[in-house]
Symmetry: C2
């Protein structure tokens, strides 16, 4: 290949590291959830956690925060409903939409999952100075903000 390309090092490419890390973290946290009888993905956790924090939200809002098509969210919520973790409450003001909220079981699931997630994050970051954690998170946030603007 030409000299133009010969200096490109995949090992120093941030994209590869971001992808690899995302894959491994997603896999590991799902495994830990599963070992506590919670067959849920990291994405599912993200939805449940936000429902807890922000109260019931519409599916379109979930779609927006997950950056997925609303039809994808319909089916993800279907899955969580089937597992009994969330419920769709019709909204009397505007009968077009639902408010998706946690059930008791969903809240219970979070009681298990949140400590797992916290412990996991502390574990993978245990050797890393606080300063560097902060820089890493800030850098990732800057990259994703820039990419969102780009869309």
């Amino acid at each position: 290949m030409s000299e133009l390309n010969s200096d490109f090092q995949l090992e120093e490419a941030i994209g590869m590291h971001v992808n690899r890390t995302a894959f491994l973290m997603t896999e590991e946290i799902a495994k830990r959830f599963a070992s506590h009888d919670l067959p849920l993905s990291a994405q599912d956790f993200g939805i449940l956690f936000r429902l807890q924090k922000q109260g019931p939200v519409t599916q379109v809002e979930i779609a927006s925060m997950m950056m997925r098509d609303k039809t994808t969210i319909t089916r993800r919520i279907d899955g969580l409903v089937k597992k009994g973790l969330v419920e769709r409450k019709p909204c009397p003001d505007d009968r077009r939409y639902f408010r998706v909220g946690l059930t008791k079981a969903g809240q219970q699931a979070l009681v298990v999952m949140i400590p797992l997630v916290r412990a996991f994050q502390q574990e993978v970051l245990s050797d890393i100075p606080d300063e560097e954690k902060a820089i890493t998170i800030r850098t990732l946030k800057q990259i994703s903000d820039k990419l969102i603007k780009l869309k």
Copy 2:
């Protein structure tokens, strides 16, 4: 929810940022490849790039570096063969395996893709000091190394 969980902030959770960034980067680079008539994923680029750098490798080696099942790789390679970018060369020493190598077209594709990837990475990191880039990459690498050990 209990006080135990109330201090958990998803916004400061590295997992969410890693995932989000990976998703956005993967999507954007695929879009850029596509706009140059190269309907390939970031993963495909990863394979092609390594073939260029390391010369022909076996499918099991690819599976290992991509952290995927070998059957998944069989089908990914099938796709790249169909696109004319790689070829399977039988290995006379040991007739069980192939060496997968770049074709001329595969090399040409890299000539287009490598500058795209390089420009993309520079672009998303443009506002970030070199020191912080380095810390971010190192941190991600430490996390993924730790997770690999954990398996």
